[in-house]
Symmetry: D2
Subunit: 341 residues, 4 copies
């Protein structure tokens, strides 16, 4: 089958023919239709320091996808051939303390498809049946193909108390923009989105932000919207040091900061004034709650109150992987999707 | 001043002149503009068993209102003459264990205006400054005048986890209809409202119910919308025994039933099959959280995502109190409001 | 192998030779050492209405046990031959909405060992590997053999907020007595236990109850200990109608009633005065949280702060099943255990 | 009356005669019997950068105390002359959004006695009646006099989920040691305390720590006690940068870090590896929850499961203020108390 492969330690991907995966008795084989492209893929493509430390080529890249089931293992009871599905890309052990007590999303033995084992930028992928999530009939493969990053956004937003809340979203990449839409659907009373990129602010506005501002205007926007108290909740989706300081400065006393954006290096924090004296809570977001987050996604999509389609700005065949990487790096893209089959 | 008074033990109200209230140093005098009429007022008007057991005439009736501040006591710091306000009608001691640990709404020494002391169906009312809640500039006195029952609905809905939830609202009196609109604004994925009264089902639909059905059709509607699981949350707003049984039957295992409707007499419950084996949680709703609920109301109104105006179907001067009671008892009314000054 | 069997629709058990179970690839075979005897076993023995409606003889009885692993299926990774283990007796589908969102304890497709399929009053039992729970080296098979009912008690107690709380435990059968000890270890400030049986009150006192009283004295004990407020938490472990009314009467306003005891028939409840006006929360307890409850048990046992041994009053070989049933029915027993191998 | 006064901008306190305070109608006058000495008092005594930025001499120092009520204002209903009391030293406005929605502990208008207005190292102090907390008859003035720092410890410990938890307490000053005792009473399964000071580790052991270790041994102790997972909860009570990094390193994935210790300057944090990828929650602790924390304290003291007396190592009259400061700075003291009347 055709697959986008990280062949060796160095920049680039290669589209090539590889053997179709075989499945274990508790796995299913999925015919991939659409696959989302993520910043993580760009890191692997560029072969940056994180990629060098984590990945072991060769492997098929890609961790966000939807498709239909082509084959099921002998022990699989809840998935049938022909089912339209997406899947959780974090493969956990299922038996450790974390997995058995409701925190599988932080299983210490997590292996991620497209990072630690073969991924989904290919015609077929083998997945444990436990990781499969069914799509409603009216959900497109395209929307199915971006459930992983949407799930990051749902996890980030809905582990805070959103109905009625004032919310600041710092960073309007695709996940930040999804988060704007989720907060809108969940009854946030005021959503302020900040980013340096005007194109992204337009998308944030389209998804429901009341204010979409350059970071230099965020403080004024927050103070105006909150009688100077600061927002109840900040969703930090950028990983940019100045945005993290702004998150801590603009959350109200006693508020909550959800951190998803990954800073590339250490940051100097004044815990006294930025965290402790403010009495705030900070929550580090890893992946998606298994599978509360997936269930929430299905519910929001089913209700029609949340539709991520506007965030998808570019669609490519696997053959155009280099161009896909380019548009993401350029900042001109919202969400980018591979159309595979 | 003019006031609607419960003069003696027996049916009816009397509109008469009474002295304008005087205030203590920690109280404010409020010029009443609009006042909501509640089922509780009907009980007092009719002088039913509950009223006989609880009320001690003579007293001014009415507990839901908005107006502007005419006078403030010497110790009052947070309210000024001219402020547009509504108020929490439950006057609590502020010093008991419950009041000091976040549960003032169940203070055992609660005294309710218009029930235990003089109320708001009058040109003026004296209120402790701590009970006053300011209205945003764009909120009408009319909407301000129904914050008390809206608050019941907010308390009932938002102490459950609504974003993404499937919700059944049993009973579409004004509070039930408000609750439909709140759940809609807070991101419920599916709202099923049930009532025997077609007029009320129309209002529920107008406020956002996906299904508005006769109770005899509720089971089918719930099963269809939930793959037979039952709903995540039931808001029981009727107090009708058959509705309570239906609430317990149609909530999913592990779900939550919020009980606000007051049954007039004991009901036979099979705790084994209706509660314990289902693993559900039941929450008895009293009044409004002080003042989390009030804050949520302000936020929802401010966002524009919730507007109760459509629920107000009748407006009367105090002179038409008998007619106001009649339309409520007839079931033809949504929310009824007195226009006072 | 030797097994205690419910042979046919009618009273009694029969000790007989049956084939040793075979296991599937995802199951393990456990050599049973100790097995707890439960009220449920008595219902099956007596063949009461519940048993007639639920059970389909013939089957091996018993659902609480510990032992060591004799054989593991090909797909089992987290259990080895020789491991000392106990197991969750509720076998759930693992794939339904409830199982996938943290509520497997209320999986609608639950099958219980010793009730819906062969149980543990036998030399060997086959169990899904996912249901196995490892015992610390210093935990005896006997204590391991009563993890199921201890788990009911942990689930009931620790889904309330116990540190500092005043707690009333209505009903001091083994699970109620366990709950007393758990509340003691978790920092309850005052524990009042009630039962009609003086022997059980002695055990409750031994496990840490500050007051152990006849139900007719419970109201006075609660009022004395709580400045008349009522207790923060009631653990209703009896299923007796008068105890349920007492639970609702003696919990403070805004408090929490955890219901585990199963009433045998419907009860008349005045929701207005007993639930709604009190603003309380009622929680129906099913089984054990999978596997948060098991993890809590291990932690409490490991700390040495909770030791259930004193509650075990009788030990029998399988040959004395009739006597075991007798001592339970007589009320003279705390927890009864079969010593099997 | 006699009072310990910060007279001017510069080091030291001065014991002198000052006028007895007068009270407002909503205040009470308290005859101070015992007063705890806090690190904050040392900062003011030393006149460090924080003190220079915050305090405006002259004022009476001290914010932890107990005594009996000498006089009550005309509007005070819940306090009587002769009552044995302590008091919350954070005086909040009571009317802001935070105060009205259950977060008075982070009221932006908080004024602290002994810091922002006259304090308790004096024979008398005036306090708002709302800040007064009654002492049980069997609680000494001495224990009453340290409710403020005990409350910090209760707030820090009990806003985490302690029953059954493994806990690391980094920093064994008086508040850290109190926290050890609270976790013990609340059913923590394993408590590891770390400090560089052997005298403090002895006190931690006396209060119930299972392991009391030098910070260089903390990692090994945690790994041994938690099967390498890390602890469920860290209570960071030191403010020392290396301890904060250790807190983040030794909490398990998905765990919780409660931060009370105040670092004196910014710290470099790798949010990616220390917070986000670990999926942890960080909570900044300010003061005491009003008045949930006070209620918990009363309950724990009443139960007899927590007794802070062993932590009090030195007692002085006000005349020995310099010596009191010296023993605190030397590290030889646990908690130090002034005996005033």
């Amino acid at each position: 089958m055709k697959a986008l492969v990280k062949e060796s330690a160095g920049p680039g991907f290669k589209l090539k023919d590889v053997p179709k995966p075989t499945i274990r008795d508790d796995e299913v084989l999925i015919h991939v239709r659409r696959a989302g492209v993520c910043g993580t893929d760009v890191h692997i493509y560029e072969w940056d320091d994180w990629a060098k430390g984590r990945c072991r080529p060769p492997f098929v890249v890609g961790h966000e996808f939807a498709g239909d089931v082509a084959q099921v293992g002998a022990l699989v009871a809840n998935v049938q051939v022909g089912d339209r599905v997406t899947a959780e890309g974090h493969i956990v052990d299922g038996t450790c303390l974390l997995c058995r007590t409701g925190s599988a999303h932080v299983c210490p033995h997590t292996r991620i498809i497209g990072v630690d084992r073969d991924g989904c930028f290919a015609e077929y992928i083998a997945m444990p049946a436990t990781n499969v999530w069914h799509l409603d009939a009216n959900i497109s493969y395209e929307v199915g193909g971006i459930h992983d990053p949407m799930g990051n956004a749902f996890h980030t937003a809905l582990t805070a108390d959103i109905p009625g809340a004032t919310v600041l979203v710092t960073g309007c990449g695709p996940i930040g923009i999804f988060a704007v839409g989720i907060c809108k659907a969940a009854g946030a009373s005021r959503i302020i989105a900040s980013d340096v990129n005007p194109r992204r602010l337009e998308l944030a506005t389209a998804m429901g932000a009341h204010d979409a501002v350059h970071p230099s205007d965020a403080e004024a926007a927050v103070k105006r919207a909150t009688d100077d108290y600061g927002v109840d909740v900040v969703l930090e989706m950028s990983g940019v040091p100045s945005a993290i300081h702004q998150a801590l400065a603009l959350v109200r006393v006693g508020g909550r900061v959800q951190m998803l954006g990954i800073p590339s290096k250490p940051i100097e924090i004044d815990f006294a004034s930025e965290v402790i004296f403010k009495g705030i809570t900070i929550y580090g977001v890893v992946g998606r709650r298994m599978y509360e987050t997936w269930h929430q996604m299905t519910r929001f999509l089913r209700s029609g109150k949340f539709d991520p389609t506007a965030v998808i700005t570019h669609r490519f065949p696997l053959e155009c992987a280099d161009e896909a990487m380019r548009v993401i790096k350029s900042g001109e893209a919202g969400k980018v999707v591979f159309e595979i089959a």
